[in-house]
């Protein structure tokens, strides 16, 4: 009898327990191990509905944390969420002991291989490693040879990818050695699961992950070689474009290190510095999350020409420690695999504990013959062996080919390539792997799995153990087991938490504890210039979006009312604001078209959803998202969550056709609340450091501009035609108060009488009204004085002069004098003041960028001109050639 599992109580039905389990998981007596049994019992006691409920809760938590693989996808504009399965993978103490030993041995082995091939090369001299695997290997970076000859401190952070065969045996598939990702995701998975199954977790003697990361931190401190109590450690990321950016943000926070990008760092002399608002700060250790060849454009001539020029020389001179050591990528070479057992005996004088997946390197004649024979057989209709043929060097231009699935033509091409450059290829035996149960939409499914274990080779500050293995793993699941062999598997989203059990009671240990009791207290945090720039723009875009939404709401409210359009007298005024804010075309306001409801609808919908218009709500949101993503590590999780909600809101309505206006009205109201919440959370949860200042400055600059534009729209046309002051009727004034969010303030002061003088006073001069231009100028003055380098001294900086000038002008203005009309009924003084304020605000924005943020601009300039492996080659390229 089939029953919908969600409504049957048990998660694992009895029948599933006997037949559906992969034999590799079962004990020799075909029983579940006590660890699996414990898990099954616990999940069954919860029951399917409860499991589903908790799983949904977990998904929400992940979403709130912003857990995603590729946070910032250029094409989609959104990241694919990181998928976590609620059923953990339990590992018995015995299995864990074997895995730990095996991975630790591999870690020592790979470190020894690194030392040899970038040093004396005895392995190739003595025939333990075929020289082709270095000489033809694009991952072997000759520039790194001898880089660590002087025994400069370094650290290796490895990943070992394993699979479990159907018979339960463990095999190593591949290694991650230059900057393996996944440890942060494993940590995130653990945090989520321990929250949704707290009882199970705490009762179960599950080994904690924190001590591993503590050891990592100690090792990073140790390799600085400076003996400083707090060496400056940075994590080098390629930024939000990196698929694993979420993890980098997460790990850098967890480890308490600064997350930087290449453009934040510079080499001076033989040392590395972080470019900040306050100047250059020395960096002792770089934990890099970027590829070897992206590290130094001078040495590696990478096509992207990104990186830190001079970094390799700084490493060589001992001015900075980089981990993983430069050149590590070679250790990921798939072609090394068949030689590891022999090398292990030579270098470590031990037998390899964990076997490799069967790998044939076609540079050996007998292996080539076997692979060609298998290809031949599969083409002549025989059952193909489950072989996956892939680049021996793991280069991306040669993705793996599963010969069971390849077309005849593909196989023929492959055979030709194998014959012409056999050393370029390996063939792996995909076999059939062990599967794990996965919770999928309320039912259990069996999925293939691969396991990524993490290890560290490096001595901690107290010469603690030299190798440690993270007691846990990133368990990835997929429909197709072969994908784990075809690529690094990073593109596969499904994952499980891995619980390594201990016989001993497990003590609780937190990373935070370690930091709070040993570190000095920091208050004044300096900021990388790039981050400050992004903060400034985040503030600006958020405020700009909010302003646009307010005007849109006022218009939509009126369109939805019963009144006919031509009777709504303030309608032209509102359209003028929209035109002046460049939300609708300037030609649109004041024309007959503006009274056609269909035309207006089309125009407003475009103003919200069009991707073509620079100022549309959708595009503004994209800007907010992009800038927020680039300072993800500086924003609180809550504010990030709010941002995601706003995006959902926008996505929800954008494609609906019916009831556009009323839907839009509702949407805009919700979005105003959401974006105010975002701004509030982002600013409130941030320390009053430089990041906060720059974000608030962006906000104030934008709001000053907005308020000035509103006032200009009331009194003047965009083309500077001075408008008669008489024409501003009370309905316009009411609408102005509405879009400026100052209605309540006005009415509590002046009751219902609407006059332009008190309104202008409220919106322009009143420093108590947080919406007034005067308020923005006063805040900007405070910020500017607190910027680095603006400590009290005899001369005022240019930006101080601008804010002083603007604030003083506003404070000295007499409202009746300002509002005195000339004979034509115009308001020339107001006109002049608004014009001057507008220009001043722009000048202030430019000046702040020029003074504090220009360092990033120069760097970009260099990148553009550095387009080849020679000197900055533009017009000089022709002349400067060997003849």
């Amino acid at each position: 009898m089939t029953q919908d599992p969600v409504f049957s109580g048990a998660v694992f039905s009895d029948s599933a327990a006997s037949s559906a389990w992969c034999s590799g998981i079962l004990t020799q007596e075909k029983q579940l191990s006590p660890y699996w049994q414990g898990l099954v019992n616990y999940l069954n006691s919860l029951g399917s509905p409860e499991l589903e409920r908790r799983w949904q809760k977990a998904r929400r938590m992940m979403h709130e944390h912003g857990a995603a693989y590729n946070v910032f996808d250029e094409t989609e504009g959104t990241g694919r969420p990181w998928e976590l399965d609620p059923i953990p993978f339990p590992v018995s103490p015995e299995t864990w002991a074997m895995l730990e030993q095996g991975v630790a041995q591999r870690t020592r082995l790979l470190t020894a291989i690194f030392d040899d091939i970038y040093g004396p090369q005895t392995l190739i001299r003595n025939g333990h490693l075929p020289p082709e695997l270095l000489f033809a290997n694009p991952r072997y970076l000759r520039q790194c040879h001898g880089l660590y000859d002087k025994g400069t401190a370094r650290l290796h952070f490895y990943a070992t990818n394993l699979c479990q065969c159907a018979d339960g045996a463990w095999q190593v598939i591949s290694h991650g050695a230059q900057s393996p990702s996944g440890a942060g995701y494993a940590l995130e998975n653990r945090i989520i699961l321990s929250r949704i199954f707290p009882r199970m977790f705490h009762a179960g003697k599950v080994l904690r992950l924190a001590p591993f990361f503590k050891h990592l931190t100690h090792c990073l401190m140790a390799i600085s070689g400076t003996g400083k109590r707090e060496p400056a450690i940075v994590m080098l990321s390629s930024g939000p474009v990196s698929p694993a950016y979420f993890e980098q943000v997460f790990l850098s926070r967890y480890l308490g290190v600064t997350l930087v990008e290449s453009s934040d760092l510079t080499v001076r002399g033989d040392a590395v510095f972080l470019k900040t608002l306050g100047g250059l700060h020395p960096v002792d250790v770089i934990l890099r999350r970027i590829d070897d060849i992206s590290c130094d454009p001078l040495v590696f001539s990478s096509p992207s020409a990104t990186g830190i020029a001079g970094l390799v020389q700084a490493v060589r001179a001992g001015g900075v420690a980089v981990s993983n050591p430069l050149g590590s990528t070679v250790l990921e070479t798939p072609g090394f695999m068949p030689f590891l057992p022999g090398i292990c005996r030579v270098l470590l004088e031990e037998d390899l504990i964990l076997p490799n997946i069967s790998t044939r390197w076609c540079g050996r004649p007998q292996d080539l013959a076997f692979v060609l024979d298998s290809l031949e057989k599969s083409m002549s209709g025989n059952d193909a062996l489950p072989l996956i043929i892939t680049s021996a060097f793991g280069t991306e231009r040669d993705p793996g080919v599963d010969i069971r699935q390849a077309s005849r033509q593909k196989k023929e091409q492959l055979a030709a390539k194998l014959k012409s450059a056999p050393h370029d290829y390996v063939a792996m035996d995909a076999g059939s792997g062990c599967t794990l149960p996965v919770w999928d939409n309320g039912a259990l499914k069996q999925r293939h799995a691969a396991y990524r274990l993490f290890s560290i080779a490096g001595y901690g500050i107290d010469s603690e153990n030299d190798v440690s293995v993270m007691p846990g793993a990133l368990t990835r699941v997929s429909d197709n087991g072969a994908v784990f062999l075809m690529d690094s598997g990073d593109a596969q989203g499904g994952s499980k938490d891995t619980w390594c059990f201990s016989h001993e009671p497990v003590t609780f240990e937190s990373m935070m504890h370690h930091f709070t009791d040993s570190l000095e207290i920091h208050r004044d945090s300096d900021l990388p210039s790039r981050v400050a720039d992004n903060m400034l723009w985040l503030g600006r875009y958020v405020e700009r979006t909010e302003g646009a939404l307010r005007v849109l709401r006022s218009i939509l409210n009126r369109l939805n009312s019963e009144t006919r359009l031509d009777i709504i007298q303030e309608f032209p005024f509102l359209l003028r604001i929209m035109a002046n804010l460049e939300i609708v075309a300037s030609s649109f306001s004041g024309t007959e078209a503006a009274y056609n409801i269909k035309t207006i609808e089309t125009e407003l919908m475009a103003a919200m959803f069009s991707t073509q218009r620079p100022g549309s709500i959708r595009n503004l949101m994209q800007h907010v998202k992009r800038v927020a993503a680039s300072v993800r590590d500086r924003l609180s999780n809550d504010s990030w969550h709010v941002l995601g909600r706003m995006e959902n809101e926008l996505a929800r309505v954008s494609f609906q056709k019916k009831n556009q206006i009323s839907d839009a009205q509702e949407l805009v109201s919700e979005m105003i609340l959401t974006i105010s919440a975002f701004a509030g959370l982002a600013l409130e949860s941030m320390t009053r450091g430089m990041g906060w200042r720059f974000m608030d400055m962006g906000r104030r600059l934008e709001r000053a501009d907005y308020t000035i534009t509103l006032l200009q729209s009331l009194f003047f046309f965009r083309d500077n035609t001075v408008l008669s002051g008489k024409r501003s009727q009370s309905h316009d004034l009411e609408a102005l108060l509405e879009v400026a969010d100052s209605t309540i303030t006005y009415h509590t002061r002046y009751r219902t009488i609407l006059q332009k003088e008190p309104i202008v006073d409220l919106l322009l001069l009143d420093e108590l009204n947080p919406r007034s231009a005067g308020f923005q100028m006063a805040r900007l003055s405070e910020h500017v004085e607190a910027l680095p380098g603006n400590t009290p001294r005899p001369f005022r900086t240019k930006e101080e002069k601008i804010t002083l000038d603007l604030t003083t002008q506003l404070r000295l203005t007499d409202i009746s004098h300002l509002m005195a009309a000339n004979q034509a009924g115009e308001l020339p003084r107001l006109y002049q003041l608004l014009k001057r304020l507008k220009k001043g605000t722009q000048a202030l924005g430019d000046q702040i960028t020029q003074r504090y943020l220009s360092r990033i601009e120069t760097e970009q300039q260099m990148r553009i001109s550095f387009d080849t492996d020679g000197f900055v080659l533009d017009e000089g390229a022709q002349e400067w050639k060997e003849s």
């Binding site: 300039q861 000197f871 022709q878 050639k881 003849s883």
Partner: protein, 298 residues
């Protein structure tokens, strides 16, 4: 009796920037390396402005490489390399008497000696030099079974010399080998790359040599100062004998006029001057090379 040729080399590189440059990192391959026939007696490397850091080391291929950083604002950057070199020319083996080319392939594949093992790395594609069937086909007729390697390699050299046009405007330092091959135009660096690509496509080791050429002025005229430029050629490997240079630009086996700076798999391994600069805007580059033969003090 050995005949010692003495040379003085001056290689001056200047960058003039439109705007102020504030930071410059450089890697220089400007110190002549020691070879079986060449001894660098003396060298000086002077940078202006004075670099804040300057260090020298041997690279993977045994070349001297200098790393420098200039971090004072400047609009003119000058690198002046001067050296004195003794050359004891050694006649090349008789081409027709060298080993068959198949034996060279077999020897480096077997790599029984450290020299063969070292030569083996020059068989494979390198960052700027791919291998291809097209290139192999283009020279295949020069390699009949049992053909002596040096004779066949001279054939390649001559083929490039006769079928390619020397044209400094046709290519840049980054023009791919395939494009040069289609254009049949280029400069010494391109010709060396083409020759190496052909040989490697057949499975033979070949390496890139960067250096200078001493030229004789036309009869009755003075040598033009600074008229020379840096030069490039290639070398083939003869097991048991060593490397033999070949110059496809001039269709000669270098003897007493070629001075070696450095060698590697291709231009990218031994680019004489490369660097990055912060700021500076557009720049103008000028290079002046002088190779002067000194009279022997008899």
């Amino acid at each position: 009796m050995e005949r010692i040729m003495k040379y003085a080399i001056s290689h001056i590189t200047q960058y003039r920037y439109k705007q102020t440059a504030s930071l410059s990192h450089n890697e220089l391959f400007l110190i002549p390396r020691q070879t079986p026939v060449q001894h660098c007696m003396d060298h000086t490397l002077t940078l202006s402005p004075t670099p804040s850091a300057m260090s020298q080391r041997k690279d993977y291929f045994g070349n001297s490489v200098t790393a420098t950083t200039v971090q004072v604002p400047h609009t003119l950057f000058e690198i002046s390399a001067k050296s004195r070199v003794d050359l004891i020319p050694n006649p090349a083996p008789v081409p027709e008497e060298t080993v068959p080319w198949e034996q060279v392939i077999a020897a480096v594949r077997r790599h029984a000696t450290p020299e063969d093992l070292d030569a083996f790395q020059y068989v494979f594609p390198s960052p700027m030099i791919p291998v291809s069937d097209d290139l192999a086909r283009w020279v295949k007729d020069l390699f009949p079974p049992g053909a002596p390697l040096l004779a066949a390699a001279l054939g390649v050299t001559e083929r490039i010399f006769t079928r390619f046009t020397y044209d400094p405007g046709a290519t840049t330092t980054t023009t791919p080998v395939a494009t040069v091959f289609d254009l049949k135009r280029g400069v010494c660096q391109d010709f060396a790359h083409i020759a190496i690509a052909c040989l490697r496509s057949l499975g033979l080791p070949a390496r890139y040599v960067s250096g200078y050429l001493h030229t004789q002025p036309p009869p009755g005229k003075d040598r033009l100062k600074g008229a020379e430029a840096s030069h490039a050629w290639f070398a083939v490997y003869l097991p048991g004998t060593g490397w033999v240079d070949l110059d496809p630009t001039n269709n000669v086996i270098p003897f007493d006029q070629h001075l070696t700076l450095a060698w590697g798999r291709d231009y990218s391994d031994v680019t004489p001057v490369k660097g990055t600069v912060l700021g500076g805007g557009r720049h103008q580059l000028s290079v002046a090379v002088d190779v002067i033969r000194l009279r022997n003090p008899h």
